[in-house]
Symmetry: D2
Subunit: 390 residues, 4 copies
Amino acid sequence: MRKIKILAITGIRSEFDILYPIINALRNNHRFDVKLVLSGAHLSDWHGSFINKIKEEGLVIADCIDSLLMTNRTTQRVKAVGLLSIGLAQTVEREMPDILFVIGDREESISTALVGNYMNILVAHFGGGDTVYGNADDPIRFAVSKLAHIHFTSADEYAKNLINTGEEEFRVFNVGNPSFENILKEPIINLDSLSQELDFDISEGKYIVLLKHPLSSEKEDSFHQMNVTLKGIQKFIDLTGFKVIGIYPNTDPGSYDILNAIKNYQNKSYIKFFKNLPRNLFINVMRNTKALVGNSSMGILEAPFYKLPVINIGNRQKGRLNAGNVKFVDYDSDKIAELISEACLDEDYRKSISGISNPFGDGNTSLKITDILENIDYSDQKWYVKRKLC
Amino acid sequence: MRKIKILAITGIRSEFDILYPIINALRNNHRFDVKLVLSGAHLSDWHGSFINKIKEEGLVIADCIDSLLMTNRTTQRVKAVGLLSIGLAQTVEREMPDILFVIGDREESISTALVGNYMNILVAHFGGGDTVYGNADDPIRFAVSKLAHIHFTSADEYAKNLINTGEEEFRVFNVGNPSFENILKEPIINLDSLSQELDFDISEGKYIVLLKHPLSSEKEDSFHQMNVTLKGIQKFIDLTGFKVIGIYPNTDPGSYDILNAIKNYQNKSYIKFFKNLPRNLFINVMRNTKALVGNSSMGILEAPFYKLPVINIGNRQKGRLNAGNVKFVDYDSDKIAELISEACLDEDYRKSISGISNPFGDGNTSLKITDILENIDYSDQKWYVKRKLC
Amino acid sequence: MRKIKILAITGIRSEFDILYPIINALRNNHRFDVKLVLSGAHLSDWHGSFINKIKEEGLVIADCIDSLLMTNRTTQRVKAVGLLSIGLAQTVEREMPDILFVIGDREESISTALVGNYMNILVAHFGGGDTVYGNADDPIRFAVSKLAHIHFTSADEYAKNLINTGEEEFRVFNVGNPSFENILKEPIINLDSLSQELDFDISEGKYIVLLKHPLSSEKEDSFHQMNVTLKGIQKFIDLTGFKVIGIYPNTDPGSYDILNAIKNYQNKSYIKFFKNLPRNLFINVMRNTKALVGNSSMGILEAPFYKLPVINIGNRQKGRLNAGNVKFVDYDSDKIAELISEACLDEDYRKSISGISNPFGDGNTSLKITDILENIDYSDQKWYVKRKLC
Amino acid sequence: MRKIKILAITGIRSEFDILYPIINALRNNHRFDVKLVLSGAHLSDWHGSFINKIKEEGLVIADCIDSLLMTNRTTQRVKAVGLLSIGLAQTVEREMPDILFVIGDREESISTALVGNYMNILVAHFGGGDTVYGNADDPIRFAVSKLAHIHFTSADEYAKNLINTGEEEFRVFNVGNPSFENILKEPIINLDSLSQELDFDISEGKYIVLLKHPLSSEKEDSFHQMNVTLKGIQKFIDLTGFKVIGIYPNTDPGSYDILNAIKNYQNKSYIKFFKNLPRNLFINVMRNTKALVGNSSMGILEAPFYKLPVINIGNRQKGRLNAGNVKFVDYDSDKIAELISEACLDEDYRKSISGISNPFGDGNTSLKITDILENIDYSDQKWYVKRKLC
């Protein structure tokens, strides 16, 4: 029996963490033949090169497509789409997969959807229907859904959104968030060992995690916004003696400015920044942190699983489904300090968060996806031609 | 007062015919500064190079971006998107327009929308909301609408479709089809002069027009489909002595096969093929033809204005708003001959067509667009950030 | 024992005819593992798509890289170099060959040499040291030699030229012209069968072959030059009743104009144009023609093997090693007619040509190349770093 | 009188320092109209974005072409050539300059030469004929010379080398090194002010400068090589209490590893690293340093002007004209320490260096170049077509 050929495209670590359980479930099923295309930050040593890690895992790399330009200008991302479209078309013509699999709303997502559309290859997309707005990624996410043939969503509400925008119902599957599987499987590391691994003492468990990315529509303010954020955190630290684990921003325009703002705090003893943390460390850091601060989508999509309070600063993530664990705050250092304080120290508030229900599923996602992809009739034209677009 | 800078992107003649009245209205208004970017088939001598014609008209060319690869493979169009995204980002960074203006659902449409999205430049798009399906262009059209900031539609129904898919109402303007303005302004040429200009005798007015493009989802059948079409036409001709004016297909994959099928008919005296006809000849050919045969969007979008019967062969244009002048037929040469016969010779049928009402407006489009673009507050952030995407 | 991995890059038919015997000899030797990269005109149906032919031969295609833009502008070729450099780097990173093998002086030649130089992969180049000038290809050929690590030349004089320009002697091997092997191996087809296959009566053997390409430095004159050429030929035909087998030009800027000039002669019964001829037909056409007319490099490089008189019109091929069979003539239709006449009908002149000696070897080229590549010590750094460049 | 249009292409700071005096002399001459194209590291904030600085100087930017990919892999530079060739062809078609001006042997040099060759635009190149070998740049430099039409060299020997490789004599002009003009014009800053500006105390004048780049043929050893270098320096520092001013490496593959090696030394008080130094500071740092250590071309090309001892570590710069001020040393930390010691402290040796004669001219370069470009007959075909290539 001919195997079902899957070609999965990935460009950044945050995306790969979601993709990984799916890839793993697919390759553990003998019906599938899975290969990866690496691009973007995965190929940048500045962001922790990924190629060797992938090879160690025994994953097959179909091609590496350079797409990340070293600039902070707004040309960066759309030229990446250009490079990916050209490079990926070359790969796809050779590999002729049955499915192109892609996650999210970044350059690789839209490029993959374009390649599938023009080359008549089914595109399976995870992550559509999400209502967040304000970033260049957001219209992209809906454009990807218009081009993709099979939609996997992380929440029921998102599935409904796709159908409302005109997608045929038979293409839409709510499967929940696959990244919970990483968490469930990850062995526990206690705080002492974690402190050692990180070379940073968080053994008392009094720490927060900071993850802040630029917002394309407010790119020019990136430096200032990060400064206010760090000042707000410092106010909280000054009063409480907490520690801070910071993660570097993604590679989008404005990230250079955020890194610049970070520099002024890099020598403070209460804070330590990491380019990337290995998954095992990151998950254990998240399990024990008192709060997540910044504007990462993790606050919306994963924190409910950890029952973790989130302080989302600024407009990024606005419009997104809020499980109840996220408070939004403007760029006001006093308010930021106050909300972090509440999240970390107000036991009533913390109790209310621990009781929220999680709209993003139960961690069974990858098997659902595998099942669906295994049972598609790949010769049925209904999958290839959308007879209804609105 | 600073002028409003418009950068319009175009890649193919059929698109430019729609764009032209708008461009003209904009540059006749002193508030606007208009430049063009040429790409795709406009730069191909094989398709009648366009650069000199543009320069004669006094239009300013900001840049020429090569994007049309000489191949019949499915890699062709998505690599064109890649080249356009990279080249146009370079142009836009230099020109920094207030508006990127683009038409339709082709490579230049999606590339322009991507550049605007990632570079924070407003994209005004004409042609969204159209329900036709089956071609690679169709999902692209909706993806473009998801990315564009200002929507001009050619029919009221199309405007409603965009709002239904989640676009904010204030962004959507139904303005009708601008190409009617070309027709209204074009002086009449009588059939004798037309015959001379074409070097092809249609002085008796007994002729049809053939315009047939490949369909991406049926690319492999392109040769066969064109063959059946030409055979059907021949059957009609054999009985009636009509003439046929054929126009070459667009540049999409499959066009090579259509051209191949044409070869076998190129020496017949009843048919003459043209790469492109100058606008003045084409409009007068359309004014006098008895029917339009093939699968061009012109049958849907412009023929109602001419009150012209259309025989649409195959699946291209399916799903589109039908003013009542279009009959769809499968690849069956007898049926094709029969329907052409009805359209050309059945006076009752012809009378019914002459009475249809045209859903695509009254030919006042370009002034409506100019007016809207003149009155936008370009400093209002609501235009740049979509706060509602579904 | 690990095989020596060869990746050969080709973009046009004329080049592949030279490459083919080498590729064949390499894959018949168990020490080598050979793959092809196809680009340029090989991927254009307009030029006789090559992919299927390659697959039928059982050759392995590593990747197809679209590089031929459909335009007659001077941007065409340098953008092709851009596309090839990007696409080929992607292929080479995956394949990691021991040798990149490339022929000639076209876009694929320089792109391959650039990829090898920057990625530390040995480039073996056939065709350097040739003294012809006037075309954009000519400086490219020497630039390629400056970048390539192993040089195979077709004549002793060319080998010396490379050493004179500073190349280290151990890198330079004169091996002769491999295309003679195609000729030697090709079974004879008699003129009657040939006429049938071509659907063109040359059974009396009274015909010439016309092969004319544009010259980049005289691109603007391409139409005129082809016109004069065809007029000169017509004068000869009018007097002698000869036939003409014409081959379409290559894809370079100006080729569109040459095709345009051809149109006016396409209906004449004495001439028939072919896009490309299958190798078996082409070789037998060349074996029997009375003369080769135009400006193809074949006149210089292959015609001496056939002992064939050549009339080279215009400046292309100037500066090249002349075995004595080539007469150069300006764009003067009378002179052209006169020289063709002499070449076809003057028995003394024809006799003198039949006695020339051929500086391009004896047809043993491919085995020489195989032998050299088999005996290189691929771990010796001397091959990778040029310690002498001038 | 029509101005002579010059388009100068630049991609990295080191190159711009050489280009700047020429650009300045050209724009101060009313006969010329000068524009710049920025690419590569100039567009990277990580390397000190250059766009604003250029605009402040009143220089006109024709286009910005992103070409620097954020990766440490060997695909980086050849893909940059691809992006530059495509982007620059777009610029050149619009600008139609009389001269493309470019410096050196990097991606922008070869891309510019390719664009000029294929688009029939004269390429004036500064920096050919240099005999250094071992880096990917070196074959590129000679390939550029094969393609360029006008050669400006920095030394008489280099001019002779170009003629020996086959370049026509009338194209070759020895003009010396233009960067000396920057030095001559730069006001003196005393060591106290310099220390303040640098926020690093070098007021006693006891310091060396470290400038070390990766070598493509030894890329894998970059980390180790930098480590040995830094260890060697440390040994010297331990004995003498000198200071070290380090400059970050260029952007080539391997630079990431060098930066990694630097990290372990970044907190030492005796050393301070700078991404880039503004020209005024850099020149005054060079005027007062006791020695230059590393493998920068500055040691060969500029240090003779400062009469500065140079310790060149490793194989980069091997083969280059040595004015007598450069000592080569292998990766041996003891030897490195010893040679730095000699260069800084051995007064006899220092005296001998101060007496060397400088083969790179007297600092009058830019006017010579202006003069030559002003007096070229741009309508003379001899400049465009090389009639002799070897």
